[in-house]
Symmetry: C2
Subunit: 226 residues, 2 copies
DNA sequence: CGTAAGATTGAATGGCCTCAAGGACAGTGG
DNA sequence: CCACTGTCCTTGAGGCCATTCAATCTTACG
């Protein structure tokens, strides 16, 4: 999951899960379950498979020698992760909310082994990934802390929010540290910004990880404040 | 071109131009020349082709409504740009140093129309792109101005530097504004940082766009200062 | 109740930005 | 040949936002 620049961008690149009836492939492909905290793959591991998330949440990270960490993306239902470059994975992939994933053999993307339909779906997902990452560049480089956090909550609301009348309820699987490393901020700044949104009456917290969006328009405004 | 985290990363993902003898495809494919300032495509244009740079420099940009601009990448010889998402291009592509590009029909990537060899090369380039962009995230989110500029110059030195004894000469095609929008900085900060590197004796300027790397190790140290 | 992990809040610093002015350079026309 | 102009780059001063360092609060769990 990337925090793209606008809802328009999100709409323009619909996720696979909404493109194609889910049962058309899930029943024919091996599905694996992972518990929270499990590791799907590590940087340097042989990239044997590509993973399509059906439920739950994954986290992709890269770490530098000096300890600086970047969360590359969160993978939510409908997302596909683990695109190889060469023979190896180049990120870590951990489960932060117990999940079910559909496994695709790497060759299904690279050689077209298996059905042409699957090959095409994986290829399209890779191209969509490039586009989404380009949007995310703008996010990391050009947005303020408030805009980043508001954008993040907006996307999460769209992707995993449950409607409660005119409000939306978000159950975050990730910790503040994950959000911070995803948005290029510190834990403290994320926390302070969430407090700020709360004090503005835009959101309210049931618990630290359970957020209600009270004012979707206010959140959208905050996400692209001049 | 992305500014990746280390030279190791660059080495690990060699560019197409060094992988495959150039004449094996360039002679069989239509080549187009563009003058500096030309526009290759605009966001929203129909994505009919994918472009492989043989010489010169391209610039990929995205612009927000509010005027904020992000340079997504610079395309140098060996790079491939214009990966579509859906039917349209989602960035602007301008020529900042007169260039020759090899055109590939979009279908060569998406359908495998044309040679399987070309299909595979384009697919591998797309996957390499994803990996390089992931590295670039760390750059944008976690590096200081000094580290960013030093990293940028290191990559440019590796890619387009000409050896002068133990020194390296870089002829930058891009303006300060392009560098700033690529690194997520302001023009002033880029300029100040270059001055700082000059005062440290790490680089020297022949002219604003013509830079000599006097101390490659010093530059490398600056690019990953703790 | 005690401990540990995570989240929040506070105070102070600093790095980058903003605003502003001046310098370098090429192109143009008198 | 030389002002004139526009573009780009550099430099300075001041301010703000995010960080850093540190303490407190919350929650879960034995």
């Amino acid at each position: 999951m990337y925090v793209t620049l606008s809802n328009a961008a999100t709409d323009a690149y619909p996720r696979a899960a909404t493109d194609i009836p889910r049962q058309s492939f899930s029943s024919a492909r091996p599905v694996r379950r992972f518990a929270t905290g499990a590791c799907v793959f590590r940087e340097g591991d042989d990239a044997s498979h590509i993973y399509e998330v059906q439920s739950g949440t994954l986290r992709l990270t890269r770490v530098l020698e000096n300890g600086r960490r970047q969360v590359i993306a969160f993978a939510l239902p409908g997302d596909i992760v683990g695109f190889p470059n060469g023979d190896q994975h180049h990120t870590d992939c951990d489960v932060i909310g117990s999940c079910e994933v559909v496994l695709h053999r790497r060759e299904a993307l690279e050689n077209g082994e298996g059905s042409p339909e699957t090959h095409r779906r994986l290829l399209m997902a890779a191209l969509r990934e490039i586009s989404a990452m380009q949007d995310h560049f703008m996010m990391l480089a050009r947005k303020s802390a408030l805009e980043k956090v508001a954008s993040f909550l907006l996307v999460m609301s769209d992707r995993i929010g449950t409607r409660q009348g005119d409000k939306s309820m978000i159950e975050l699987q990730m910790k503040r540290a994950d959000i911070a490393d995803f948005l290029g901020l510190t834990i403290e700044t994320v926390s302070r910004t969430i407090t700020q949104l709360r004090n503005s009456g835009i959101i309210s917290l049931v618990s630290a990880n359970s957020i209600i969006v009270l004012d979707a328009k206010g959140l959208a405004d905050a996400s692209e404040a001049a």
